[in-house]
Amino acid sequence: MRYRRAPTLDPLERLERVQRVTDTALSHLSVDDLLDELLERVREILDADTAAVLLLDESRNELVARAAKGIEEEVERGVRIPVGKGFAGRIAAEREPVALHKVDHSTVLNPILFQKGIRSLLGVPLVAHGDLVGVMHVGTKSRRRFTKDETELLQLVADRVALALRVRLSDRSRVVIEAFQRTFLPEVLPFLPGLRFATRYLPAATAVGVGGDWFDTFVLPAGDIVLVIGDVAGHGLPAASLMGKTRNALRAHALMGGTALDILTRADEFHRHFGEGELVTLLVGVLSGDLSQFRYASAGHPPPLVVGPEVAAFASDHGANPPLGLPQQPSFVEEEVAMPPGTSVLLYTDGLVERRGESLDSGLERLRVAGEKVLNGTALNDAITDLLERMIDGPRPADDVALMLLHRDATPATELEFAVGARARSLLTIRRAASRWLEDLEVPGPVATEIVMAVHEASANVVEHAYGPAGGTITISAKHEAEEVEVRIRDSGTWRGASRGDRGNGLKLMRGLMDSVLVDTSADGTVVLLRRGTVA
């Protein structure tokens, strides 16, 4: 068998070739243009007929054709090669250059190569900072033995490509990840007087892409608060998109009403029907609108840690607790946690309690001990930081960690202040917050209802008249002293005339229900001051 052997390069020519592929002008190109240009140059320099780059898809452990010259079909057909299989797969698995002098079914997986009449192949791994990024290869239609010089030159190009890809892809994936994080984390934490939340998301130290942990919390129309924490196996965009899908489906399941168990069962059915066997664990909790009771159901998720004024314990975790979507519908169990004032509940993903070489039970015990010390209701965000320091070695955890801490205040606040967007849908939030606050203060029911109605009317006036379409905020501040409640409803808008007749009724209603109603309009906006004695 005769091989065409490339002539040995003289040093000057070699240098010139190296310069062509390390040309700094290339650094300004986009990933696609860079690959395009480099592959063309590589093909010329090595006198090859084809040149191609395959990138590693970590989630599937496969190589995907990304750019090619001379065998463009490889990219067009979206060729995927499992790591370890065939020519490119072998390079990826061994992370070593491979030269092939016989191209057929037995040596390569991709039929396009031999269909195109490729007889010899040379491939090198794309490695950046020790991580495999993909594979680059060149092919010739004539039989050819590639020299050591040529192999080194191809590896030099590959190293440059790998670095560029690493930087640019991570730039791009960061943008995508941030976009995802924005969509999968709750837009706003529910606001309810007497209840405080803190949340945290820590990506794993080794994670390349975003992980599959998430949490969500929202208030249902009837006033119950839903808390969800879940974990989708894997990393990167596939995990993130499954998480997004599961999260949104769960909001829909919750909106249908029912108990935590009902919601979890729907999620299980959903995953069994629409999932593709991915491992998803999930915990759904429902906190009653009066904050007195927390009920949850879990699918493969560790139990919530409940820290009361006196004890720290895990909510009981008996019964079947398999992950979502198993072929046979398991019977999930609903647990109940009493929430007397001063109780904290911590929901978390298993990354918090898993440590190499440690059993899950010891991990849980470490969490219980740390939680007992730290979760006492003061400064929730600081408490989470403190807890993470105790639980995690080093700056970042080995696996992703998502945390959601809620705390029911031990004593009712005599003052209340919050701001919401001046939108019709904020009115429900305002009513909930006001009733919750008045209930904690033990203001008699009928009086509380009338105060809530008056506060609502004042706020509805702001929604309708204070701002233009650009919107603004409504600030509610209230205090309770000497058996009187005083509520200020403030906006910073310029009122457009009360155009519709029904709004006159709003003021009439406020005056009829409250002991006094004062409206103060200045250049800064309008303040409505409501006063009402709390003795029934």
Partner: protein, 128 residues
């Protein structure tokens, strides 16, 4: 946020509203109720006694509905227990003659039957 349950007794439509009605859903609720009344009906009873909240926009929607029905010689009767906050709100705002208030559904039903026998519009209401 609010649910409307519809029942019918002869030529009377009974709409029971539960949940909360405010400016964000008042017109939807009004529309839902209005669509349940056919031209052949004598009266519409709207039962607000299970409602947990209604604001002035919601009450305005009820009043407007009463006015429209009145033009068609159909009656609107509201049900609200004595002493409830919503009833108080209605008393503060005041109702036009086209809308009357009863403490419960049976009282409202009886008023409808009486007016049908007398074949004249329903007379003065409990609260005038």
């Amino acid at each position: 946020m609010a649910e409307v349950r519809l029942e019918r007794e002869d030529e009377t439509v009974v709409a029971i509203i539960t949940g909360e009605v405010d400016m964000s859903n008042a017109s939807t609720v009004r529309q839902q109720i209005a669509e349940s009344v056919t031209p052949g009906d004598d009266a519409l009873i709207v039962d607000l006694s299970e409602l947990s909240f209604i604001d002035s926009a919601g009450l305005h929607a009820m009043i407007a509905l009463g006015t429209v029905l009145n033009e068609r010689r159909q009656q609107l009767l509201l049900c609200l227990p004595q002493g409830s906050t919503i009833r108080r709100a209605i008393e503060i705002i005041g109702l036009p003659h086209a809308v009357s208030v009863y403490s419960d559904r049976s009282g409202a039903m009886e008023a409808v039957r009486e007016s049908a026998m007398e074949s004249r519009p329903i007379g003065p209401t409990e609260n005038g």
